[in-house]
């Protein structure tokens, strides 16, 4: 069967050349802030740049009337049965274990659930979702209820393969980010680009099922980072795309 996801036009998240001066200036102010140990200055310069870019993109969106919908998909081969993979995923309360941008998912009756995501600057965004399609051991799809702050739908499919006892899991996500383009710009800046997030979420799901835990270095020891070290941290998204180092919580959870 084919999935009911349309070809939504995804805008490139890369800034165009025209935006480079803005980015460079903000980057220099941020770097100055980092050197002088003024994190607020660094952050505000970066955020203003993102904000301005977002406004610009928003205007462009309105102008050309493009859809602001984003789609993302990813696929991973996992060494476990489709039954086991399905069982873990079907309990939506498990999702925050490998989707670090989700704080919690509470399941209710009749396939309904309440999702809470961590937004920019520690804010929280919640919405209600319902299950649209559920074929045991094969696939689950869900969507947010009408009127949600974040309109989204998702589907996970489990097929046996590529060899005996294995599963190929395919995740498809489609959503309108919070605050339209500003949310997207923000998300991109901090490495939560939808395609990247879908891929890394599914990779973490695989690790959790196979290894029983998700590899991390967040919270490990290191020497003084300096400018070079901090830049590498940002570049490699090691702080934003890792499972929480909060040990007590994650230790109680084993697949």
């Amino acid at each position: 069967m084919r999935h009911s996801y349309g070809n939504s036009s995804e805008r490139s998240s890369m800034a165009s050349y025209a935006e480079m001066p803005l980015i460079l200036t903000a980057g220099m102010i941020s770097a100055y802030g980092l050197i002088r140990r003024k994190p607020t200055l660094a952050a505000s310069a970066a955020l203003s740049a993102v904000g301005l870019l977002a406004l610009k993109q928003n205007a462009e969106n309105v102008e050309v009337g493009q859809s602001k919908q984003h789609t993302a998909s990813a696929s991973f081969a996992i060494r476990c049965s489709p039954e086991r993979a399905y069982r873990i995923w079907r309990d939506f309360e498990n999702l925050p274990r490998f989707m670090p941008h989700l704080e919690s998912v509470a399941t209710g009756t009749g396939g309904q659930s309440r999702w809470t995501a961590l937004g920019p600057l520690g804010s929280r965004i919640s919405w209600n979702a319902e299950i649209v399609d559920d074929v045991e051991n094969e696939r689950i799809s869900w969507r947010s209820l009408p009127g949600s702050q974040v309109e989204n739908r998702g589907m996970i499919e489990f097929r046996p393969g590529p060899r005996e006892g294995g599963t190929i899991a395919t995740l498809r996500m489609q959503y309108l980010p919070p605050g339209g383009a500003i949310g997207k710009a923000f998300a991109t800046f901090f490495g939560r680009n939808p395609e990247f997030a879908a891929r890394e979420d599914l990779r973490r799901f695989k690790s959790l099922l196979e290894a029983g835990e998700i590899p991390t270095t967040a919270g490990q020891s290191h020497g003084p980072r300096g400018i070079h070290g901090h830049l590498m941290d940002m570049l490699l998204r090691e702080t934003s795309n890792m499972p929480s180092p909060e040990m007590p919580e994650s230790m109680r959870r084993t697949a």
Partner: protein, 397 residues
């Protein structure tokens, strides 16, 4: 704790950093008793491998005592008080790669797999104390280290063996052994080995263990050539002879059955090719100097095997693929699949078939690590291998 940190090109410093913590259920913390500087650390020291960050703790050859284990560590396999050698590759033990004993290709141990995927298509396993592309795990040139998947990698060391006898099970002995195994040695074969550093030394001895009739070792550091002869190899000094011609003469115009590159990306040599490689590396147009790899391909017999335990990092040109293809060579390489080799090689040490101590030239306190890097890189003071004691000063105080 004290730890050796990379602060920039040719800039190592010992810093006081927080002690490591258990971060994942299968972690353990090891109090390190011996730790070494590896030849591959020198590529990092020289700033040639991308995605290292200022402040990173280096070191991937270490051993010590388990002082803490996470809640999911199988106590049958590892418990507090065990004395262990830790392999430099990190592996979960349950993915398809681990299941096939391809431990250095574990699917689940590199938290930055996406970075490696950009460069390599798919990510190999995480490594201790190496680049962030390879996981960015804090290394073992420190007083303590956090060891992920601790019930899978570390091997317990029985009483009666000194640190110096077993610490090289963490990397260079298995790496030399796998280099030799990758030569597909048949009884009586001639094996040529470029590089008589510590890995080359173990490769020479491993080649004989695997049935080689003759090993020809190539280097230009006299102490190392002597050490190679002590191990039973014939030697060639590339400062004095044309290696390709000498190998042709020594093998009756046949070529060695297999050729091993135990040098990697910072090869030395003479002539135009070397100058070309060096200029490109200096200009950051290439990560690697592929001189030795070229010679291996040229020197190898028709239908022979080229084994590459030497480390390469990037995209390189001027590799004689024509010779490689037309001579029908086999190419074998990879980071070492550590857990395949640690137990059998420990048994060989226990039986007295080999005493890895021979390779050590310096035992130093950790505070002298920055100087030791320079000494090892520049091959000063007859340096072949440095073992660091993280607690020397603490004990003296």
């Amino acid at each position: 704790m004290k730890a050796v940190c990379w602060m920039g090109k040719e800039k190592m410093q010992v810093h006081d950093v927080p002690d490591p913590k258990i971060l994942n259920p299968r972690d353990a913390i090891v109090r390190i008793t011996s730790t070494c500087i590896c030849g591959s650390d020198l590529h990092l020291y020289d700033g040639l491998v991308p995605t290292l960050a200022q402040g990173d703790i280096l070191g991937h050859e270490f051993m010590g005592e388990v002082v803490e284990v996470g809640p999911a560590v199988d106590r049958e396999k590892l418990k507090v008080g065990d004395r262990v050698v830790v392999p430099f590759t990190i592996a979960c033990g349950h993915c398809e790669s681990c299941e096939q004993q391809l431990w250095s290709l574990c699917d689940n141990s590199n938290p930055n797999a996406w970075v490696a995927e950009k460069l390599m298509g798919y990510s190999p396993s995480g490594l201790f104390g190496y680049t962030h592309m390879m996981g960015g795990y804090a290394g073992g040139q420190a007083q303590y280290a956090r060891v992920p998947f601790a019930d899978m990698g570390p091997i317990k060391i029985p009483e009666g063996l000194k640190d110096e006898q077993v610490v090289f099970l963490s990397d260079i002995f298995p790496t030399g052994y796998m280099g030799a195994e990758n030569c597909d040695i048949k009884p009586g074969d001639t094996v040529a080995i470029w590089g008589c550093g510590p890995v080359g030394q173990f490769a020479i001895r491993s080649a004989f263990m695997l049935g080689a009739g003759r090993v020809i070792a190539i280097d230009h550091v006299r102490d190392r050539l002597k050490m190679a002869r002590d191990g039973g190899a014939e030697t060639l000094n590339f400062d004095e002879v044309d290696v390709l011609e000498a190998l042709r003469d020594m093998t009756g115009n046949h070529g060695p059955d297999s050729c091993m590159d135990a040098v990697g990306m910072e090869a030395w040599g003479h002539g135009l090719q070397f100058m070309y490689d060096r200029a490109k590396q200096k200009l950051r147009m290439a990560q690697d100097r592929v001189l030795v790899l070229r010679e291996c391909i040229q020197a190898c017999k028709k239908g022979g095997t080229v084994s590459v335990p030497g480390v390469y990092a990037g995209f390189d040109d001027k590799i004689p693929l024509g010779a490689f293809m037309n001579k029908a060579l086999v190419f074998k390489t990879g980071q070492t699949h550590m857990m395949r080799y640690m137990k059998p090689l420990l048994e060989r040490i226990q039986k007295g078939e080999i005493n890895p101590e021979f390779v050590i030239s310096h035992r130093l306190p950790i505070s002298q690590a920055p100087d030791a890097y320079k000494m090892f890189r520049d091959k000063q003071d007859h340096c072949t291998k440095v073992v660091l004691d993280p607690w020397a000063e603490a004990a003296a105080a």
